[in-house]
Symmetry: C2
Subunit: 338 residues, 2 copies
């Protein structure tokens, strides 16, 4: 029977969280504090938080499903699920410093609560911990998973740097923007969607198909995330309205609008060249992105990604029920309000 | 014939540098810029530097010698030599941000030249690249080397965090200070001193002995580095005189002085509690550390470390000539001006 996405996310929480708590416990006690804080388990004073508001656990859920997709038990994927969740969170901790973001999940980011130094070193520790979890008992599938994670992390880091370089340039080529998204968001979701199959020793071709699914999911997810960065409800996103525009991000809808050659695109470029955008100008910029076709093109691109993600699964030699569950999960991730 | 340390360092440069250039070339072109800058190959504008002033290459030299110590060719250690050098440099790039250090090797640090964001992400990329170099072709010895490097990196990161926590506390227990040093400096030098033997498939007991040698070398090295941080010649250290005192570091000589129970120790604690130390006060603080016995105790502790390092080698089943060369290298590293 096809399992509902919320139930699968809840199963992940139950399976992964105790192991995550244990893994973080391997860090030195002082280093574990900012990491526990980031995961929402304690407040900045070290007091346990009763009902922490956490990430959805998309990546570990993908990892568990990708083991089941090739006929293995979900447990086989557990070290991979843990590792990818930790590495993903390493990237959030560092990105929040780099992007100067003061809030995540409705609370102060690690650098805001503990200082940039602690946030840098906590992120470093998480990155290494993720790889250590796979290298601890280095069976060939675990080593393959570790190498895949290292490669995905390298891509993610390159993507983040590309994103940063976009901030410095006036306009950004739309294709380059998608390449950045594939690296920054796609690579780690591709790994998450394949690591269970890698740990289960599945054939390369199946692993590749699952990886393609995750890559397209990541691209679709980022497209929607970019839309939410402009039109998202602050009470849902946990970030101020129009946040990406305030930071003059060259997100996909903005890149499309800037490259549109339209009058609205030119006016947007003019707004983006200013030192500071007040709330009225942010609203005006959002309207210009929409007028220049940035919103529509991004929604449509996200749909294309989802179609390609589904195609990747259909071509794979995997369990049909799990394939349907992976598609449901992808829809859940990407469909948020758009 | 026993080879001289400067010749061995030069051999490392010739062997490792082309491979290092190639490894850094695997990074995306924009990400490679701050990394190449850090290694001294280019200036901040991207122009090649003709005779770069570089690190001495102690860690890769240890790696190469540790392969020869167990009867293998130095080349066997090359991926380990590269990886440890890259990971060491990752830690320098991040530590410079955390410690707010504007200069290293007589030029601007990466964060100073490119901004903290680029320095964070360049460091992240280096950390992952180091591990990738070993996981690329995952033979069992390479996997063992990667796992050892990940463990050493985790220790190094924990040590750096411990060091940071010392800044926030008034006094620091001397034993705790040594524990910090063992983690922050010792762990990666221990890895460097063993990784060639690991890659050569040497027995565990030999690997353990070489690791002990490297750990003691690291402790001795840090003790001397702490002395140089107070009394070092700025034209040699590349840092302002008394820099560690200005930053009120709880280095080993300072921890010894603060714990001495002497009048000089009390006066030092008083100076350390001030907001800002001008040059006169830094000079006074240095004199107080010496008066309280911090300098002598640290010199003597460094000598003890060197003796234990030599003992570790004597107990190991390794080539006698290479053992002598390792001891020479240790003396070269530790003996700087003290």
């Amino acid at each position: 029977m096809r399992r509902a996405t919320p139930d699968l996310l809840e199963r992940t929480r139950v399976m992964v969280e105790p192991a995550l708590v244990e893994a973080v416990g391997r860090l030195s006690s002082s280093l574990a504090v900012p990491v526990r804080y980031h995961f929402g388990w304690i407040d900045a004073a070290g007091i346990p938080v009763p009902n922490p508001r956490q990430g959805k656990g998309i990546r570990p859920t993908l990892a568990l499903l990708s083991a089941e997709a090739v006929g293995a038990e979900a447990e086989v994927a557990l070290p991979g699920a843990l590792a990818v969740e930790i590495v993903h969170n390493f990237s959030l901790v560092h990105d929040d410093i780099i992007d100067d973001d003061p809030e995540r999940r409705h609370r102060a980011t690690v650098w805001k609560a503990f200082g940039a130094g602690d946030a840098i070193i906590a992120g470093d520790a998480m990155m290494v911990l993720g790889l250590e979890l796979l290298l601890d008992r280095p069976t060939p599938p675990r080593v393959a998973a570790a190498a895949d994670l290292a490669g995905a992390s390298a891509s993610m880091i390159a993507g983040q740097h590309m994103d940063m370089s976009f901030h410095r340039s006036q306009a950004v080529d739309v294709d380059l923007c998608w390449e950045m998204v594939s690296l920054k968001t796609g690579a780690l979701l591709a790994h998450a969607s394949a690591v269970g199959a890698i740990l289960a020793g599945a054939p390369d071709q199946t692993v590749r198909r699952l990886r393609s699914f995750g890559l397209e999911l990541g691209r679709g997810f980022q497209a929607i995330d970019d839309l939410l960065g402009i039109w998202g409800d602050p009470s849902v996103t946990g970030k101020p309205a129009g946040n990406d525009l305030r930071e003059r991000k060259k997100s996909i809808p903005v890149a499309v609008a800037l490259a549109s050659g339209s009058r609205a695109g030119e006016r947007l470029a003019d707004l983006y060249s200013r030192e500071w955008l007040d709330d009225d100008r942010i609203e005006a910029a959002a309207a210009l992105v929409e007028e220049a076709g940035g919103r529509e093109a991004t929604v449509s691109a996200a749909r294309d990604c989802m179609r390609r993600a589904a195609d990747a699964l259909r071509g794979a030699d995997i369990d049909a029920q799990v394939a349907a569950e992976l598609e449901d999960l992808a829809a859940f991730v990407v469909d948020r309000d758009f």
